[in-house]
C-alpha cells in the first residue's frame, strides 16, 4: 500500500471521529470565538486599532486552536492505546504524522474561514482585496501549523509533557507561520497582495522543511 493511501486512510479515520465527536466544532470554535471577543474587548473600541490588529488576533486564535485540535487528535489514540496499534501495523509511521496533519489542517481551514468572518464583523474589517492571496495565506499557514502540531502532538500525552512542549516548543517554532500569515493576510485584505509574495514564500519554505523533517523523524517518536 502506498504512503498516500495510508495517509488517506488515517486522515479519513480521524475526520470520521471528528464528525462523530464534533470536538472541533463543539469546543474549539467556541473557544476561538471567545478568544477573539476577549481580545477585541481588551484592545478597546477604537476602530483603527481593531482593524490593524485583526489579522494578528486571527492568527493567534488559530495557533491556540491548532494546539487544542492536536490534543484531541492524539487523545483519541491514547484512550485505548490505539497508537500502539498504529506502531505495530506494517505501515510507514510517517503516514500517521501526515494523516493526522492532513485531517487537522482541513479542520483548521474551515475554522479559519469562520474566524475570518467573525473578525470581519467584530473588528470592522472589510473583506475586499486579493482573494487569491488570502486563500494562499490561509492554506499555507494552516499546513504549517498542522505540521508542527502533528509532530509535537505525540509528546503531549501526559499533562507534564503538555506544560513543557506547548509553550517552549510549539509556540516558538510556529513563530514564522504566525508572522508570515499575519503579514500576508493583512496585505491581501488591503489589496496589496503582490507585496505578500515574500511572506508566502517563507510559508512555503516552512511547510516544506517541517513536512519533510517530520516525515523523516516521526517514527522515532513512536518507538519505545
Amino acid at each position: 500500500m502506498t504512503l498516500v493511501r495510508q495517509v488517506g486512510m488515517i486522515a479519513a479515520k480521524d475526520l470520521r471521529i471528528e464528525v462523530r465527536g464534533r470536538h472541533a466544532f463543539g469546543t474549539i470554535l467556541p473557544f476561538a470565538a471567545t478568544l477573539l471577543v476577549a481580545f477585541g474587548l481588551s484592545i478597546g473600541p477604537g476602530r483603527t486599532l481593531l482593524q490593524q490588529t485583526a489579522p494578528g488576533l486571527l492568527w493567534l486564535a488559530m495557533l491556540f486552536a491548532s494546539v487544542l485540535a492536536f490534543r484531541r487528535s492524539y487523545e483519541s489514540e491514547g484512550e485505548d492505546g490505539a497508537l500502539e496499534g498504529l506502531l505495530l501495523a506494517p505501515i510507514d509511521k510517517a503516514a500517521v504524522f501526515l494523516g493526522k496533519a492532513a485531517a487537522v489542517a482541513l479542520q483548521l481551514v474551515v475554522l479559519w474561514v469562520a474566524l475570518l468572518l467573525l473578525v470581519a464583523a467584530l473588528f470592522d474589517v472589510s473583506l475586499g482585496g486579493d482573494a487569491g492571496v488570502v486563500v494562499a495565506a490561509c492554506l499555507l499557514g494552516t499546513i504549517g501549523l498542522a505540521a508542527v502540531g502533528s509532530l509535537f502532538g505525540v509528546l503531549t500525552e501526559s499533562p507534564r509533557a503538555r506544560e513543557a512542549v506547548v509553550p517552549l516548543l510549539v509556540l516558538p517554532l510556529a513563530v514564522p507561520v504566525l508572522l508570515s500569515g499575519v503579514k500576508a493576510t493583512s496585505l491581501a485584505l488591503a489589496g496589496l497582495g503582490s507585496q505578500a509574495s515574500g511572506w508566502l514564500g517563507l510559508l512555503v519554505a516552512f511547510d516544506v522543511v517541517f513536512l519533510s523533517a517530520g516525515t523523516l523523524v516521526f517514527e522515532h517518536l513512536l518507538e519505545d
Binding site: 488515517i10 462523530r20 483519541s76 485505548d80 490505539a82 496499534g85 498504529l86 505495530l88 501495523a89
Partner: protein
C-alpha cells in the same frame, strides 16, 4: 545487527544448543527491559521452535506482558538481543510486525467509531481482507452490536473486538496477553478456537494467562516470576 553490549557474545544460559535463528520462531538472548531503575524483564533466554504453542504463567508483575510486548516489538530490550521469526529485534521490526499479531492489554479501539468501523480500519491498514470483518464479528458474537459506538461497549465486548481483530490476518506468530479477561464462556471458546486454528496451520502461539482453566492445548509451559524465567514451581514435569 550485532548488539552493543559485550555480554551478548555469550551463548544462552541453558545447556541445549540454541536453535538456529532461521528455524526458531523466537530466539532471545539475555533480554532485559528496564523502566527507569525498575526491571521488568531480567536476562531472559528463550527459544521457541516454530509451530509450538507456548503457555506462559506467572503472578502479576512477573513480566509476562513485557515479554509479549518485546516479542511484538512494541517495546525494545534495554539490554540483550533477539530475533523473532528470524528477523532481529533491533533492525527487523517491520518484517516482524508484518507477521505477528498481538492481543494485548490495550484494546486499541477508537471510542467514537463502531466496532465494525474499527475493524474495517485495522483490516484495511494491515492489508487484511475487508470481507472477513463481518465474519469475524459474528464468530465472537458481536454481530448485533457491531454498529454501535465502542464508547458504549462493556469490557467484555471490547475484548471480543480485539479477538476478532486477531482473526483478520494469518500471522506466523500469535501473541495473546490475558485474552480471556472479562469474557464469558462462549467468547473464551472463540479464543481457544483461534489458538487451535493458528496452531493447526503451523504458526506459533505464545499465550500468557493466569487463568488456570485455560491453556490445555499448550505444548510447553514457561513460568515467570519477577521478570525472570523460573523452573516449574509445581515441581512436576509438565508435558
Amino acid at each position: 545487527m550485532a548488539p552493543s553490549s559485550p555480554s551478548n557474545a555469550l551463548l544462552s544460559a541453558t545447556n541445549d544448543p540454541p536453535i538456529p535463528a532461521e528455524n526458531a520462531a523466537v530466539s532471545l538472548s539475555r533480554v532485559t527491559r528496564v523502566f527507569g531503575v525498575t526491571p521488568a524483564l531480567v536476562r531472559v533466554d528463550l527459544e521457541v521452535p516454530r509451530g509450538e504453542v507456548l503457555l506462559v504463567r506467572g503472578p502479576n508483575g512477573a513480566g509476562k506482558s513485557t515479554l509479549l510486548a518485546v516479542l511484538a516489538t512494541a517495546l525494545s530490550p534495554t539490554y540483550g538481543s533477539g530475533a523473532v521469526l528470524g528477523f532481529p529485534l533491533d533492525r527487523g521490526r517491520d518484517e516482524i510486525r508484518r507477521r505477528t499479531e498481538l492481543i494485548g492489554h490495550a484494546t486499541r479501539l477508537y471510542e467514537d467509531l463502531s466496532g465494525r468501523e474499527n475493524l474495517r480500519f485495522w483490516a484495511r491498514l494491515t492489508g487484511a481482507d475487508d470481507a472477513r470483518v463481518d465474519a469475524a464479528l459474528e464468530i465472537v458474537g458481536l454481530g448485533a452490536a457491531a454498529d454501535d459506538r465502542v464508547r458504549g461497549y462493556s469490557q467484555g465486548m471490547r475484548q471480543r473486538v480485539a479477538v476478532a481483530r486477531a482473526t483478520l490476518r494469518e500471522p506466523d506468530l500469535l501473541l495473546l496477553d490475558e485474552p480471556y479477561a472479562g469474557l464469558d464462556d462462549e467468547a473464551k471458546e472463540a479464543v481457544d478456537g483461534l489458538v487451535a486454528r493458528t496452531a493447526a496451520r503451523g504458526a506459533t502461539v505464545v499465550l500468557a494467562t493466569h487463568d488456570p482453566t485455560r491453556g490445555g492445548a499448550a505444548g510447553r509451559t514457561l513460568y515467570m516470576d519477577a521478570g525472570r524465567i523460573v523452573p516449574d514451581p509445581t515441581g512436576g514435569v509438565r508435558r
